[in-house]
Subunit: 645 residues, 2 copies
């Protein structure tokens, strides 16, 4: 699944827009084609719904401005961020979404007494414009060069001694520091401790209470005790006394559990504080099963209430050398530990977690074979249904694909909302199908399918683009260039120490030579039964992280022609040793994804011989690995699909 | 000329080691081969010289420790840095060199009452070891993973409330902040205002007084007034009231002058402070010719004494929004402006300077043709002399090459000390030949020559590796792979926004595939008649700067086999528009260097057809462009050298 990385910072979010009421549906459509669909809603209903919406926004803003005035706040920044700066945020923390009506994970509002704007990046321009239409909220097109950043806007429109507020509980230390550094020298005052939204958000959802469950050691390959030891070893090297694991997937990894707080996401709200003789796990204890409680206690982990983290930090001795990761920690929590010696260092758990152990790799390989077979079953259903004249839409296809994955032993949920982009929808990077955007699939254009499962034995993420009819020459040229780009990186040998940005250039060069490019990252780390986007490594234009042995990463170049089609091909790879020479150690990628790569879309003259050879060998291996999991019909289809080019 | 970039930071320095006394000569040798040469110095002389040296070091350390004790300093950090963090430093600021006897631009000492260490990176291990032998100074091999950094060492060996000092006048704000951020939380106190070295360095050189001269507008393409306007326009965009140009080449660019303070370097010690209505130029006024003074005054520039900069900063109003660049400004000067609103932003002058205008490009093209002809004249002399049985050494070759360049109209000085690496010396990245390392050149191995000139019409920097006898297969394979790597990048089309790190990966991939690599940057920006290493762009593993139209950059991959040979090939290129497609603007490199690329060293089976085609076309253009500047003998040689492969 594509990840957006801007200036080295991950900005990618799923873009999933949950639809739960009629007027919200209007805001959902993304992309050019989506707009067409609005027309299927009757004009009166649409106007009525919009009126309701704009009234609601107006009412909320009035309430908020009164609260701001009573605290002498001149400008308030409102985002959709949670206390962990998680990629996926529970409904409780979607403040900007509640206030503006604009869904989508990215976007931040600024409210003053007389003005209100919402900064959205280019992926969300259409979504935001549709949502904000009829309200007083001005869309600030944040990706445009002539649009000021939030802090630049505040500095321009506020004068000395005016006060800006943001909620420090839900804002990362990194973001907060960036605003403080910019705004304070300009004479603006900052308040971060106020809770202005809650009092007026009457039906604000409570924090989720999803059950938390243990992952067996046979899957994790490392016990909780072993992981705690490994973390403490790193802490000792850095002379740290304490380490606050802020990102929720870090706690999941350390304590071998998963959660169910957020749909399609395995990381529940929690914190872990590791010292040299204690491990304090902060979680809503209602979430704990007896098994989990026993497992934690037997590993020496002390269970504390989620809200007790602030007090625990305050109690730390003032000589404590506390590791914090500004991007994973809220500003308010960092303030609670202000008396400590705060060391801003690398996230130890994230770094350890990124290096998959042999057990994890063994299971992940099986998960990707199971996942590949599920995809093949889906393909066979898709082509059979369409040839039989049955109606298939992007949404029904998505449901069928989920059903195929759900057959796999160990399936928990999809690892992200499937991107099912038929024809022009394939050109929308964050296309997410639902009732309002759903379109029929036919035997004409090409179909981009980006999907994955979260299994007990690993997280998968595969993209394939398949022909539904006779492809155009442009489609074939685009497809072949994208395929060649992916293979270029899979067959590359690179030295220990090579960075994500270096690898990114190697992958894109074939597209560049033909005047093509794509505007998302080339690849991202993948969690083991955890989040589908995981650091520290990624493959993108400014990423300086070095690829290490054992890292699991996607390679997913693409090519998108708005209004026509989109192409992306994505495999998961694993960094392994290639050779050692006079010049040092060299690494390479071992392919882990086994799902056929279609050859009917290939323009053979554009695929170098070395790449054709790799492809033929790859498809032969796919056939060999998936065959035992297929019935006769599926096997017959796969044999044809995997024939040599 | 190779530039070393570690973690995105430029660390490259020329590595030139001036030899001025007998005992210093002993410290000069670099590399395995160099050690052999020490044996030519008689054993007694060597021992005697080393004894004198170690006595001197001991005496200096005793004096320094007494000074430290009187100020209650527990550890002192001593570097070779100047108030501008310049790449080339005048003798006055070579404090570490004076104290330790160890030459070379890189390396920092820590002195405590009972211990003394010198942190040097791997390029300087041999030089440092030779220099420190017999002294109490311990070599800290800073590139080794198990060696602590300076701040880590201090935190380990000093206890709470002890005091560390460094000279804040000669330390960049960036470096100082990094030490403060690391050492203060560990309880250590910091002093930065003390001048401990000067009182005991009795014959410390005075600041240089090299004359400063104006470059005519016909070469710069922009008047001083136009440049000041361009700077102020950027300042207005960023709402800045004042901008301190800290790096000396920024002042040279802005005010269209060059200097002669430092050998082979055109940037004299100076500062410029630009406000919206004043330009204050801080320089030792003895350096000014009447022409320069008149030119500055007519452009509205106020001339101030070099030392008045601190007072001028102190006088700024406390509402002044002052742009500072922490890497280009001393810690003490930043403290002098502590009352201002300090904005740490991009270096405006560096960014503007990097985009060469049409006049600069026109002149640079001519400079590179003149320089190429000088190289050809040198080659012809080299082969003729050797074939005639005359003695040629690396040093005599270097002198001859200088003489050939000096014939060019507009020649000022070499742009860096030529790297003349015959045989195994070619494997030493920073090899600098002088009397102590000089070796004969013969018609056997291969010869790496990296050199350039600073001309009034541009700065050049070219590396060629040429065969002196029959090359080995390994040499041919290495050479062809390096050549192919350079061509790969020269023929690449890349999108607007591509970063140095992405391009770096594309360049290195052919070497990687064969288990080869090189440990320096792939390319660096080049000044116009200014420094040979210039930012902001470079092509290296973690560089996130984006390549812009008009930038001038080197491409110089290499391959080094210690004890055997080294290969590097380097051209200068210019970023130009290639095409505009549905996917945006694409750029490419226009080659600017015209110097034959030898084909006898090529293994044809390793050079792709597209690269062979580029090479043949390149050498044909070299022949065409240089022919008018050559005599019959030279032309005959060049015709053969430029024959098609």
């Amino acid at each position: 699944m594509v990840e957006h990385v801007i200036g080295g910072e991950r900005t990618g979010r799923s873009g999933k827009l949950h639809v739960s009421s009629p007027y919200e549906a209007i805001q959902k459509p993304q992309g050019l084609l989506a707009i067409r669909h609005i027309r299927t809603i009757s004009l009166e209903a649409s106007v009525a719904a919009r009126f309701v919406l704009s009234m609601q926004v107006s009412e909320k803003l009035t309430g908020l401005r009164a609260a701001m005035a009573s605290e002498n706040i001149d400008a308030l920044i409102v985002g959709n961020t949670d206390p962990h700066n998680n990629e996926y945020v529970a409904p409780r923390w979607r403040c900007r979404e509640w206030l503006s009506g604009m869904k989508g994970s990215s976007g931040t509002m600024v409210v003053t007494a007389k003005w209100c704007g919402l900064w959205a990046d280019s992926r969300y321009y259409q979504t935001a414009q549709l949502a904000l239409d009829g309200t007083e909220i001005k869309l600030m097109r944040a990706s445009d060069l002539d649009v000021p950043s939030i802090d630049a806007w505040l500095k321009k429109h506020l004068h000395d001694d005016q006060t800006v507020a943001f909620n420090g509980h839900d804002t990362s230390l990194k973001q907060a520091k960036s605003w403080l550094k910019s705004l304070q020298p300009a004479g603006l005052k900052i308040r971060s401790e106020l809770e202005l939204i809650s009092p007026i958000w009457k039906d604000r959802p409570a924090p989720p209470k999803g059950e938390l469950f243990i992952v067996a050691d046979e899957f994790t390959g490392q016990t909780i005790e072993e992981k705690i030891s490994a973390v403490r070893e790193k802490m000792a090297e850095e002379k740290l006394n304490a380490y606050l694991l802020g990102r929720t997937d870090e706690s999941c990894w350390l304590l071998n559990f998963r959660g169910t707080d957020i749909a399609n996401n395995p990381t529940p709200y929690c914190h872990t504080l590791v010292t040299m003789d204690e491990v304090l796990f902060f979680v809503d204890t209602d979430k704990l099963t007896t098994e989990a409680r026993e497992k934690f206690e037997s590993a020496g982990v002390t269970i504390c209430d989620y809200d007790a983290i602030g007090a625990a930090l305050k109690e730390l001795d003032n000589t404590t050398r506390l590791l914090i990761v500004p991007n994973y920690l809220s500003y308010q929590l960092s303030q609670a530990a202000d008396h400590c010696v705060q060391i801003e260092g690398r996230p130890i758990a994230t770094d350890l977690k990124a290096i998959k152990n042999a057990t994890e790799i063994k299971h992940l390989k099986q998960a990707l074979i199971d996942d590949g077979a599920a995809m093949v079953k889906f393909y066979v259903w898709l082509y059979r249904s369409l040839k039989a004249g049955e109606k298939v839409t992007e949404l029904s296809a998505s449901k069928k694909l989920l059903a195929c994955r759900a057959e796999v032993d160990g399936f928990r949920h999809v690892s992200f909302d499937s991107i099912m982009g038929y024809g022009p929808d394939g050109a929308l990077n964050h296309y997410s199908v639902d009732e309002t955007t759903d379109k029929p699939v036919s035997l004409e254009s090409i179909f981009l399918i980006d999907s994955g499962g979260n299994f007990v034995h690993g997280t998968t993420d595969t993209t394939r683009t398949i022909p539904m009819g006779e492809p155009t020459q442009e489609q074939k040229d685009d497809y072949t260039t994208v395929l060649s780009s992916m293979i270029e990186l899979i067959v590359l040998q690179f030295p220990e120490g090579a960075t994500g940005a270096q690898l990114d250039g190697v992958c894109r060069q074939n597209l560049w030579k033909q005047g093509r490019n794509f505007k998302h990252g080339t690849g991202h780390g993948v969690g083991f039964g955890l989040e589908v986007h995981e650091g520290p490594q990624n493959i993108s234009e400014t990423n300086g992280e070095r690829m290490k042995l054992g890292m699991v990463t996607t390679i997913e170049p693409g090519c998108y022609r708005p209004g026509s089609h989109g192409i992306r091909i994505e495999n998961i790879v694993h960094t392994v040793l290639s050779q050692e020479t006079d010049f040092g150690r060299f690494f390479k990628f071992e392919n882990l994804t086994f799902c056929p790569i279609n050859i009917d879309l290939i323009e053979p003259s554009l695929l170098p011989a070395e790449h054709t050879e790799w492809l033929n060998s790859y498809n032969a291996e796919v056939l060999e690995k998936l065959s035992p999991l297929l019935n006769d019909e599926e096997l017959e289809w796969l044999e044809r699909e995997c024939r040599a080019l």
